[in-house]
């Protein structure tokens, strides 16, 4: 699966923030990673490097309990993801439950395991929206990147999604090895009658960090892509909405990761662990509470992991005195820890970070190095450490 985020828009009269920004926020969305099982093995998968096996997955009743508790704490949207969420036979039942209690339901899928009958069942269960990932428009390259011959099936599924009447987002993860096909990706989204296209550049955590040289685009590729997106947005206004995520290595300031730690979003893993973001398990010093043991409400408010980087009091300088600290909320903790070994460090994507040089080396070599083979995502048997 790929990264999810949520845009919050407010009508004009409500733009002023509350005076006390440290107070507990009401979360907007929960990402339900139903399983890590997936027929694809994309080398930029946003799942953790240590994947959960089927035997550790939480059951239908536990998911239903989690969804019911999500509504109680003010969550508005449930995103069903994975791995490949359609590998779970209870997906329809979970969508039906979420929908019946008022959640907006979104399915994030590769599209390779689903048929028309099941899509109809999901429609009847109240599914609001489907997002299908595409690895490229060139079938051969698409299959190579996914490590699976699924491109034709994905196209077929996208058409079935529209046929049964579900709204469609095309999710295109773009990088060094497919950016030359960005224009055809936009055309494909229009042909598939998608309402939205997400042009998501690879973000370098977990699997993608292992494959960084294979994916990091050149500055020229990136500028070219930005221009293509901007032109297409004007041409396709009212026909196709295009969301565009730029790789933050090329930015001057960090992104507001997840809209701030523990402010808008929570993630439930296949094993029931509740995380502030889908990559948070890479912060291996944190303890995560499990939905089997605690209520979502308790976890949102009291979990050590959620409080660790909530607000701004944990921030070092130059973040602490930065006028953007409540705009980017300190950027991405997973990235800072992975690249500097220091959990509190200023996100190295910030030009004010003392660690900015850790990005300069890969950026200086972009396009000069030969493209290495992919390290594909795969489940390895985990040792049980109690």
């Amino acid at each position: 699966m790929t990264e999810t985020k949520i845009e919050i828009e407010k009508s004009e009269t409500q733009k002023s923030f509350s005076a006390n920004k440290e107070k507990l926020q009401i979360p907007y969305a929960v990402l339900c990673e139903l399983t890590h099982r997936c027929p694809l093995s994309c080398p930029y998968c946003s799942n953790p490097v240590e994947l959960e096996m089927k035997s550790n997955e939480i059951d239908t009743q536990t998911w239903k309990k989690a969804l019911s508790e999500a509504v109680k704490i003010g969550i508005l949207q449930a995103h069903f993801s994975g791995g490949e969420p359609t590998s779970r036979k209870d997906l329809e039942e979970l969508v039906q439950h979420a929908s019946s209690i008022g959640l907006y339901t979104n399915l994030i899928t590769s599209g390779v395991l689903i048929n028309e009958e099941r899509l109809k069942k999901l429609y009847d269960a109240g599914l609001d929206h489907v997002q299908v990932s595409f690895q490229d428009t060139d079938p051969e390259n698409s299959n190579r990147i996914a490590g699976y011959k699924g491109h034709e099936k994905k196209l077929h599924t996208a058409k079935l999604i529209r046929k049964v009447g579900l709204p469609l987002t095309v999710n295109a993860v773009m990088h060094r090895q497919n950016l030359h096909n960005l224009e055809s990706m936009i055309d494909m989204a229009v042909e598939l009658d998608a309402e939205r296209l997400e042009v998501a550049q690879v973000q370098y955590y977990g699997w993608a960090l292992k494959n960084q040289t294979a994916f990091l685009p050149t500055r020229e590729q990136l500028d070219n892509a930005t221009e293509i997106v901007e032109t297409a947005r004007i041409r396709l206004k009212g026909i196709l909405a295009i969301d565009y995520v730029v790789p933050d290595y090329y930015a001057r300031r960090p992104k507001s990761c997840m809209g701030g730690w523990g402010r808008q979003f929570l993630n439930i893993t296949p094993a029931g662990k509740v995380l502030p973001c889908h990559a948070a398990e890479s912060l291996n010093f944190l303890n995560f509470d499990n939905i089997k043991d605690r209520s979502l409400s308790w976890i949102w408010e009291h979990s050590e992991a959620f409080n660790k980087f909530r607000g701004t009091s944990w921030m070092p300088e130059p973040c602490q005195s930065c006028d953007r600290k409540e705009i980017d909320w300190g950027g991405c903790r997973c990235q800072a820890f992975a690249l500097t070994g220091n959990q509190n460090a200023t996100d190295p994507t910030c030009e004010l970070s003392p660690y900015r040089h850790v990005l300069d080396e890969p950026l200086a070599n972009v396009g000069k190095e030969e493209i290495p083979d992919f390290i594909y995502r795969k489940i390895k048997v985990k040792r049980n450490i109690k």
Binding site: K5, E9, I26, L76, Q77, H79, N106, P167, E195
Partner: protein, 96 residues
């Protein structure tokens, strides 16, 4: 699929299937849910959006509000309603 439009009083707006209006108890606000987007409506926008049902024209919506808020001039309400709905239409939260 939505097409680019400039709203007028003759139009009959509705929400597309992917956008859902509901009252949110936790925030005490009307909100529109859409793919990876939440639109939080203020009090007046919430009142207007509840009248957007795919059956009433914008003219009828305005007339309804004029009746509800006695004393406010129709032209002021009409201007506010169109100014509120137009950006929602451009973002695809409203179709005809």
């Amino acid at each position: 699929m939505t097409t680019l439009l400039t709203l007028s009083e003759e139009h009959t707006p509705k929400l597309p299937r992917h956008a859902k209006l509901r009252y949110d108890e936790a925030r005490k606000k009307w909100i529109i849910n859409a793919p990876e987007r939440v639109f939080e409506l203020d009090d007046i926008a919430g009142k207007v959006m509840q009248l957007v049902n795919g059956e009433s024209s914008i003219k009828e919506i305005i007339d309804g509000l004029v009746k509800k808020f006695e004393g406010a001039p129709r032209e002021v309400i009409a201007k506010d309603v169109l100014a509120m709905l137009q950006p929602l239409a451009e973002k695809g939260f409203i179709i005809l």
